[in-house]
């Protein structure tokens, strides 16, 4: 029933051959594939990291440029505002000057017109005074005439009734 013989040696050879074959056909290819996949995954991670860094750098750059743009925009706006203020002041000053001149002129014209009117009025008044004086003088003669008439009437009562 128990049998121990040269077959031990054959079995050892068998096992060694099996070891070599299994290593060649099972472990090696599978390990290769696993190692390759591992490498690929690592490469992908590295790639992803690099891409992320690039993206971050681009983002930083973009943000910087945006900041710069913002700054220059503010600067330009400030400068423009300053210019506009100066222009405004100038225009207002100009307008003020012009309006003052206009007002002065108008005042002068009004004054001249008023003076003229006054002169005219004075002349008229003096004319009127003269007329009045003449009329008064005339009226004085009428009164005399009236008195004369009255005197005449009282001197001739027949004529009355």
């Amino acid at each position: 029933m128990l049998r121990i013989d040269i077959n031990i040696l054959f079995m050892m050879i068998n096992l060694l051959i099996l070891y070599v074959l299994i290593r060649k056909f099972l472990f090696k290819p599978v390990h290769n594939i696993l190692a390759k996949r591992d490498e690929e995954i690592k490469a992908k991670y590295a790639d992803a990291d690099r891409t992320k860094q690039d993206a971050q750098a681009l983002k930083d750059q973009y943000e910087n440029s945006v900041k710069e743009l913002e700054a220059s925009r503010e600067e330009k706006i400030a400068a423009a505002r300053k210019d506009a203020d100066a222009e405004y002041d100038r225009i207002v000053a100009d307008a003020n000057g012009k309006s003052d001149a206009i007002v002065d002129e108008a005042r002068k014209k009004a004054q001249a017109a008023a003076d003229q009117e006054k002169h005219k009025a004075e002349e008229e008044i003096s004319g009127m005074v003269k007329d009045a004086a003449a009329k008064i003088a005339e009226a004085q003669s009428d009164e005399k005439l009236y008195d004369d008439f009255l005197k005449q009437v009282s001197a001739d009562p027949k004529q009355e009734g």
Binding site: I4, D5, N7, F10, M12, L15, V30, L34, K36
Partner: protein, 248 residues
């Protein structure tokens, strides 16, 4: 009953498959031939499974073989520890060989591990590998010295272990497989329908895999023990502890 016994004994015999007619006839045992079958199955399976593997989009077949190999690697690497990793593939091979050899009874063949020649071959290779690993890891001097660890008085026992370990490995595997084979044969003789199937689940499949596992586990453990760097001796340890205590 007598015929049954004689039939059983006949089944238990390791037949000679054929004889090579040189040196007065070399008798090739049945177990060796069945081992060839097992080898052929394993190698063809390996070639088929690893054929057309891709790094991306692996097929289900590839995923299966990958997870199987990863499992074997993890299992052996766990036993072997960090210093014995290079023996992982040998242990993996032995694991799948004994695994398939033990359950080949399901295909109607006699399991080769039922033959003492096979288990002796496996055990001798294991002990050679264990000692070779020890010599490779520690050098001849370190390996020789490892017999006197942890104290000199255990040296004879450690030397005896060179013979005890393979003997126990070989006898455990042989005894278990032979035992299940005998029980299965008896059950098949008594009730040839249905019942053997249920018992086969335990005696062929479960016990077969357990024995493959145990054989590989123990071999791996011994290799790990052999390649492990020598621990600092007790004196040094005490010194260290004292230094620590002083420092603390």
């Amino acid at each position: 009953m007598k015929s049954m016994a004689s039939e059983l004994v006949e089944r238990l015999n390791v037949d000679t498959a054929f004889t090579i007619p040189i040196f007065g006839g070399i008798k090739i045992a049945e177990s060796v031939v069945i081992t060839w079958v097992v080898m052929a199955i394993l190698v063809l399976l390996a070639i088929w499974l690893t054929h057309g593997m891709t790094v991306r989009n692996p097929s289900k077949k590839q995923l299966a073989v990958e997870s199987f190999v990863t499992w074997v690697d993890n299992f052996t690497a766990q036993i072997l520890g960090p210093y014995g990793k290079q023996y992982s593939e040998y242990l993996g091979t032995i694991l799948i060989y004994i695994g398939l050899a033990n359950i080949i009874g399901l295909l109607g063949m006699k399991p080769p591990t039922k033959d003492l020649n096979v288990t002796i071959a496996l055990a001798v290779m294991s002990i050679v590998l264990i000692e070779a690993a020890g010599i490779r890891a520690k050098g001849v001097k370190g390996w020789a010295h490892s017999f006197a660890e942890p104290i000199a008085i255990v040296t004879p026992i450690n030397i005896l272990e060179i013979f005890i370990r393979p003997l126990s490995l070989c006898m455990r595997l042989f005894g278990n497989v032979l035992g299940s084979f005998v029980i299965m044969e008896l059950i098949e003789m008594l009730i040839p329908v249905g019942v053997p199937l249920i018992f086969s689940l335990y005696f062929d499949i479960f016990d077969g895999f357990i024995q493959a596992y145990v054989f590989v586990f123990l071999t791996g453990l011994f290799i790990q023990e052999a390649v492990e760097p020598a621990e600092p001796s007790e004196k040094k340890e005490k010194k260290k502890k004292k230094q620590k205590a002083i420092a603390g």
